[in-house]
């Protein structure tokens, strides 16, 4: 990598890493893991900068890479189950604001969803992407995205209610 390419990668990191880390944090529920995934994503994309003729496409590439890395992380490490067990065991934090408990329940509930449902919800609700773009990223049809979001939200409501009841 030339000095110029290194500089370009550093510049892209400064511009895009915060938003990428937020997305990775939504997908993993873990700040440190999110930062690691983002660094992995930039290392991967470094090799493709030369071929990236459309600079405007970088954020789309980055988003797709983050989603893929998060998915493979959960698949490869097989940590989803243990992570879910761990987070399920965490007592919900209760703060001063009356809604804080419910908000924590929603956050932990989201992290307990299957990774594809969670990804679809985060891309639709947090990133505000159209169904077609989410479908492109997940490699499925827009109808499947609709169904993943709707099933995810239904499960989330059940999680939150049962937590609230318990």
């Amino acid at each position: 990598m030339t000095e110029g390419e290194g500089g370009r990668l550093a510049e892209l990191y400064v511009r895009h890493s915060a938003e990428a880390t937020r997305l990775a944090y939504m997908l993993t529920g873990d700040r440190q893991l999110a930062e690691d995934l983002v660094q992995d994503a930039f290392v991967r994309l470094a090799g493709r900068l030369v071929h990236l003729r459309d600079p405007g496409a970088f954020d789309a590439y980055l988003r797709r890479t983050i989603v893929n890395l998060a998915n493979s992380h959960f698949r490869r490490k097989r940590v989803e189950r243990s992570y879910l067990d761990r987070t399920a065991a965490e007592p919900p934090r209760v703060g001063d604001a009356p809604d804080t408990g419910r908000r924590d329940e929603l956050w932990h509930g989201l992290q307990r969803l299957p990774v594809r449902q969670r990804t679809a919800i985060v891309l639709r609700i947090y990133e505000d992407l159209p169904e077609q773009r989410v479908a492109d990223i997940l490699g499925c049809r827009p109808g499947t995205v609709r169904s993943l979001v709707s099933r995810g939200l239904a499960e989330l409501r059940i999680h939150v209610r049962s937590d609230g009841d318990g």
Binding site: M1, G4, E5, G6, L9, A10, E11, Y13, V14, R15, H16, S17, A18, E19, T21, R22, Y25, M26, R31, A34, Q39, F42, V43, R44, A46, G47, R53, D54, P55, G56, F58, D59, D99, R102, R103, L106, W107, L110, I121, V122, I125, Y126, L153, L156, R157
Partner: protein, 229 residues
């Protein structure tokens, strides 16, 4: 369910706000990136050697008795010169949108020669006191793509004849605490080409403060030919 959705969206925004807006470049990441690129380059060289060997064999066959191969020489593009900040005059044109201001920064070539702009500039805003306004910059698509228009010729390279203009799409939202203007815009062209100050009567246009705990966002598109050019 709308309430649940709104609350979930708010939860996600709150959690997102935990991540700092600006992150230092981890030196270790750059080292890993260099290693990866070096590995890829080695693989490319090996691949190129094989391709060149194959192509030479093919050309040798074509250049056999009576064989001709038209149009294989003199096809390289003429060298282009990147625009320097001193070649450009910047103007900001904004109008109010739902909770934000949006429009474009136009950069007109006031130099004497054709020059080119490529990529996405780093745009920053400062308040009347000259302090940087903290914004979270988000890369957005060019206007032609948003309009589903055909890709401009040569894009992402924008070639500017003297007097013609390039445009950068911007959308700025949620400036808190509420700014009373005027603000000034700086456009860093990148690659050491310098910074252009852009101003106009509209430069005092600032977005409303809708969420004091949410970041102010500035969507910036890549250079594209100005619609008016």
């Amino acid at each position: 369910m709308d309430d649940d959705l709104n609350q979930l969206e708010q939860v996600l925004r709150d959690r997102a706000a935990e991540v700092p807006h600006v992150q230092d470049v981890p030196p270790r990441m750059l080292v890993r990136a260099r290693r990866r690129v070096a590995r890829n380059a080695l693989a490319s060289v090996l691949g190129a050697v094989l391709i060149v060997a194959g192509a030479s064999a093919g050309l040798g066959a074509l250049h056999g008795p009576g064989g001709t191969l038209p149009g294989t020489s003199g096809s390289s593009a003429p060298p282009s010169t990147a625009c320097a900040a001193s070649d450009l005059q910047g103007t900001v044109s904004l109008e109010g949108a739902m909770g934000s201001v949006e429009g474009s920064i136009d950069l007109t070539n006031v130099g004497g020669a054709t020059c080119t702009l490529t990529g996405r500039p780093a745009v920053s805003i400062s308040d009347a006191q000259g302090n940087d306004v903290r914004v979270q910059v988000i890369a957005s698509e060019p206007q032609w793509k948003a309009n589903a228009a055909p890709q401009p010729r040569g894009w992402p390279v924008v070639s500017l004849r003297p007097g013609s203009a390039a445009s950068v799409r911007v959308r700025w939202s949620n400036a808190c605490p509420q700014l009373s203007g005027p603000v000034s815009w700086k456009i860093d062209l990148g690659n050491g080409a310098g910074t252009v100050d852009a101003s106009s009567a509209d430069a005092s246009f600032v977005p409303p403060c809708n969420g004091p705990t949410d970041p102010s966002t500035l969507e910036v598109g890549p250079f594209e030919p100005s619609a008016g050019a």
